[in-house]
């Protein structure tokens, strides 16, 4: 194993999103990972693009945005270090439904979604492990959306 690959594997397993990951799974997942960084204002991806990645944020802040006619871009969530950006790679048609923009300098691990989907299909234990980690992200996002729709703070 090369030093670079080992470093990525360590980074992935040390990221809170993959906390407690078994070593064999860590090796499989890290095979789909690479380092990425984004300057302030740089976009990770745009609405409508193919969602072929997700990002483990190591440092910085990413704003998730939707463009609204007459209102410009509206941020509906910020994601910071130790969190994850992107669930659309899991679900067909694998397409982003919002923009993601680095608010400040951001370092991340970019995971190749197609690569990981393939490994999850081949090894359902790995697939279950990955789904267990993404399901809370989906549920938290759904609950947050419910609160935002209710507009509890009013005018």
């Amino acid at each position: 194993m090369s030093a670079a690959v080992k470093e990525i594997e360590e980074i992935v397993r040390e990221h809170p999103f993959f906390e407690g990951l078994l070593e064999p799974f860590g090796k499989l997942i890290s095979g789909c990972a690479k380092n990425a960084h984004f300057q302030p204002g740089e976009y990770l991806f745009h609405e409508g693009d193919s969602a072929d990645q997700f990002y483990l944020i190591r440092q910085g802040c990413v704003a998730l945005e939707i463009k609204a006619p007459g209102r410009g871009a509206i941020t509906f969530q910020t994601v910071r270090e130790d969190e994850v950006v992107g669930v659309e790679w899991l679900i067909p048609p694998y397409r982003w439904s919002y923009d993601a923009r680095a608010v400040e300098f951001t370092r991340a691990i970019a995971m190749d979604g197609a690569c990981l989907r393939g490994k999850c299909e081949a090894d359902h234990d790995l697939g279950y492990e990955v789904m267990k980690r993404f399901m809370p992200v989906l549920i938290q996002r759904l609950q947050a959306a419910q609160m935002q729709i209710l507009d509890v703070y009013g005018e």
Binding site: T75, R101, Q143, Y153
Partner: protein, 254 residues
């Protein structure tokens, strides 16, 4: 949103505890319960922050400097400041709910050495709706208190801070949940979710306090307008220990 600074014209007012409320009268219109939002270290200056939504609050908001209004109080049970001494204090506020907590924050900062970590987690609708923004920014510059603000949504050009519901701030905060007192005020849905998130983080229900709101009239537990199951918000609250009202909060009829 309006903040009234009231100077008593009669005898010196009874000192209010953080979290208590006064009944304010707009003459010829009516009376409304409004929590105190000022600095308790300045008892001669009664501060109330109101949202002009009903006839009374609209009339109060339209008062000119020097105008007279009626006041009786203070009423109710306030925040458990004595119990919080020596412990970490997590304040979770939503929207206008920051106003009743502002007195508690002033007290915590005035007597800072009495408490452990002090965290203020505040959620607002948008950057334009942030209450006491200048004061939050001043508090944030202190090194002995953690102030985090999040908004439900923001125009990209307006805001560089957190976007998301207030409970998301809790996961990033540093405190000892087993030795924490939590003070929560905001819309009831926000308080339910906040209390649940605090419990998930390890804060005991017995150490979590919510400030409830119902239509109050007499303020002394006689008229029944603010009855909440077996308790009266005006007399037994408005601040309640979460374990004592958790079951009541699940009733749609209440």
């Amino acid at each position: 949103m309006w903040t009234l600074e009231i100077e008593p014209s009669g005898p010196a007012p009874v000192a209010a505890a953080p979290g208590q409320f006064n009944m304010l009268t707009a003459f010829g219109v009516g009376e409304a319960a409004i929590s105190l939002s000022g600095d308790p270290a300045e008892p001669g200056r009664l501060v109330h922050t109101i949202r002009a939504v009903g006839p009374v609050s609209r009339a109060l908001a339209q008062l000119r400097p020097g105008a007279a209004l009626g006041l009786r109080g203070p009423f109710g049970a306030g925040w458990p400041m004595a119990e919080a001494a020596g412990r970490d204090v997590v304040i979770m506020a939503g929207g206008l709910g920051l106003a009743p907590l502002r007195t508690a924050i002033h007290r915590l900062l005035t007597e800072r050495a009495r408490y452990g970590q002090v965290l203020v987690l505040y959620g607002a609708r948008s950057p334009a709706d942030i209450l006491f923004r200048r004061e939050l920014e001043t508090w944030r510059r202190r090194l002995d208190v953690e102030i985090e603000v999040t908004v439900d949504h923001a125009a990209v050009s307006d805001w560089r801070g957190h976007v998301g519901v207030v409970t998301t701030l809790l996961g990033r905060a540093s405190f000892d949940p087993a030795n924490t007192v939590a003070l929560v005020c905001g819309p009831e849905i926000m308080m339910r979710f906040s209390a649940a998130a605090l419990a998930d983080a390890g804060v005991r229900a017995e150490a979590t306090y919510l400030s409830m709101e119902r239509n109050m009239k007499c303020a002394i537990g006689l008229c029944g307008h603010c009855q909440f199951g077996p308790v009266f918000i005006c007399r037994d609250g408005p601040v309640f220990r979460y374990d004592r009202i958790a079951a009541l909060l699940r009733h749609k009829e209440l």
